[in-house]
């Protein structure tokens, strides 16, 4: 990852903050609470004070101007520590949807709250158990929305929803609704990664406003691709952490009177995983650059980054459990938390199979 001076400084500031305020114990603390909270308020407040939700936005729009590369560096750090916050749901996805699918007035009105962290929004775009980019069942009827959305990040703790639906002509539309609007039922669940996801039930729910951008379908695809790339950066961070923890264990643990890291079979497996990790990393970095460069090939970049990081994150989490031996399957070690996070990430916005299929289609075969 090649960063400029400012981006490097940002990364180390964020890393210091997260080490202090959001080590992995913070996730355990969140997970073990009775209520399915989406994030710790203090952590989110601290991130907002650092300007995290505004990192990627250009300075003229009130952002910090670090671009996608800066935000990606931040997500990698968050992924290393499994930090739970509405960065992905609100600061990345919701902001991108408003920017790319709303008109200028909507952007000017809604972005500042998301950028400051004063508001938290989340995008409800999935229906059913497996992600598909197009809503099929959620329908617009005049100014009302009806349908059922699944795996909506952080919805139980957000201020408002951005809901994808079909209008009467079958075109994509995106409605904004307060989470407590009439006709909206939000049922939060804690998934195995310790975070909160919700099922959102809409019955003739009155929409506050429809996003009025000129190219909603194109804009939404782009927002989705950007978010997928940012999630891939998080997954890359998790993978790196797994590799490093496993290497440390291999260097420390003794069996049969030698360090287990001397076993050639383990050396080759970890070396192969490292190769895959660096390939995935290179894909993520070039995908982040592609966001900043406003590339036409963003979907291909997103699918490649997501599939490669998805595969290596899952593979490395299995390898890490295995190489940690008995300790790897205990909840006392953190390895299991990464294992679970990797599986949840795999399902978000298309699993590896989905993205391989999409990659092939984008390549025209």
């Amino acid at each position: 990852m090649i960063l400029n001076e400012e981006q490097r400084l940002l990364r180390s500031t964020v890393a210091d903050f997260l080490n202090r305020e959001a080590p992995i114990e913070a996730l355990r603390f969140l997970r073990d609470k009775e209520q399915a909270l989406a994030w710790e308020p203090a952590l989110w407040q601290g991130l907002c004070e650092l300007g995290a939700p505004a990192v990627a936005q250009p300075e003229q729009a009130g952002g910090l101007g670090f671009g996608a590369m800066g935000m990606g560096a931040l997500m990698i750090e968050a992924g290393r520590r499994l930090s739970a916050s509405p960065l992905v749901s609100s600061a990345i996805f919701a902001q991108a949807v408003i920017r790319l699918c709303g008109n200028a007035t909507q952007g000017d009105r809604l972005s500042p709250g998301l950028m400051s962290g004063e508001n938290v929004a989340t995008v409800a775009c999935q229906e059913g158990t497996h992600f598909q980019p197009q809503p099929t069942q959620c329908r617009r009827d005049a100014d009302q929305l009806s349908g059922r959305k699944t795996m909506v990040l952080d919805a139980g703790s957000a201020d408002y929803l951005l809901v994808t639906a079909r209008d009467q002509n079958g075109a994509l539309c995106i409605g904004r609704l307060a989470c407590d609007a009439a006709g909206v039922t939000i049922t939060p669940h804690r998934f195995m990664d310790g975070r909160q996801y919700a099922t959102v039930e809409l019955i003739d729910a009155l929409v506050d406003e429809w996003l009025q951008g000129e190219q909603i379908a194109v804009g939404f695809q782009r927002a989705l691709d950007e978010t997928t790339i940012m999630l891939s950066a998080e997954m890359l961070g998790g993978s790196r952490e797994l590799l490093e923890r496993t290497l440390a264990y291999l260097q420390e643990r003794e069996q049969f009177d030698v360090k287990i890291g001397t076993f050639q079979a383990l050396q080759h497996r970890i070396a192969e995983a490292y190769c895959q990790l660096e390939l995935a990393a290179a894909s993520v970095y070039s995908a982040l650059s592609a966001i900043d460069a406003d590339s036409d090939a963003l979907s291909e970049h997103a699918s490649r980054a997501k599939a490669l990081t998805g595969d290596i994150y899952q593979h490395l989490s299995n390898e890490a459990v295995q190489m940690h031996g008995g300790m790897g399957v205990t909840d006392e070690m953190d390895i299991g938390l990464f294992l679970k996070r990797s599986r949840v990430c795999n399902q978000l916005w298309g699993d590896s199979a989905f993205h391989k299929d999409r990659f092939a289609a984008l390549r025209g075969y």
Binding site: T129, F191, M192, Q255, Q322, G326, A353
Partner: protein, 394 residues
Amino acid sequence: MTERDLFRQEVREWLEAHCPVSQRQPIIREEQIWAGSRVAFSSEEAKAWFEAMRDRGWTAPTWPTEYGGGGLDTEQARVLEQEMIRLGCRPPLYDMGLWMLGPALLNFGSEAQKTTHIPRIVRGETRWAQGYSEPGAGSDLASLTTRAVDDGDHFIVSGTKIWTTRADVADWIFCLVRTDPDAPKRKGISFLLIDMHSAGITTRPIALISGESEFCQTFFDEVRVPKNNLVGALNQGWEVAKELLKHERKLMATMETITEKIDVGLVELAKSRLPMTDAGHLANTDLRTRMAEHLMQADALNDLNELIYGGMKTGQFDPAIPLTLKYIGTREQQRKDELMLEILGVDGLSMTSGKPDLDRMVRNWAYNKAHTIAGGTSEIQLNIIARRGLGLPE
């Protein structure tokens, strides 16, 4: 009709008569009947099934009748197993004593030890835990440090054991302890039976990534153990341990086979939950191919098991083959779990959704990660296959 056929017919009729329909469903972890003073049954029918099997000695089909076992020969035991699989009968009893200690005691135990312990194991009256692993010694079992010091007619045992399955509810534990700290690693080890109610024993459950805590760490603080609880000769415990490990590996392989047969089918799960094409194929073609790859391997594993059984009778098989079973079986179980998770999608991401079937599948996915570690890691299995099976040099 051959004698074997007659036996088969008799077994079949008896099972039909004594195994309630509810006990022919795939077993779930919560309904397993674990031996011991705290034995519990999920239903009256579960209890009746257990008692019927127990009273025929079929909880331990091949053990001698004089100790309460079923007294079957290998051939008959195989028939019983096949018929139970055919009917889908649940295993009537779960216990480390049944699976591992019993065969070793029959081999190495004193007459007094056999008469005391074997009948109670068959009848499920004592629950046994295994005290092999220690925190510092994983695959390298022989580097254990729990010590048993000679104190006249007792040993004084101090140290700690890990991965003692449900030691918190066990009645007895069989342990490897170091009785000669100066001898080479494997030479100074003895095999001891220890009453879990002895003074100085404490246990601490270990939380697993599946959210369960069925394993414990057990601490021994100057625990007094009568010397007649020594199995085999002093400092010869490694021989007993090897015998047990053999049974453990066989057990792991068998359990995989049984599990596979009575488990939820991937194909049905996928068809009921995922989009299909007009041709009736899974629309997710990548998943479809990987399912085919796994199912082919799982079928082949069943064929391989049959082959080993047939080969044992006729002497026509490579003795290296059985060494592969644990490695393959656990690998395929994990592949299956991963495929299942993919099929479930969002529904496979919580262990606490409140939907028991889903939660159980996801917990099993996490739990089964231990299969390639416990009972000899996959790496150890591959070492054994390469060196003992294929003759490669150390």
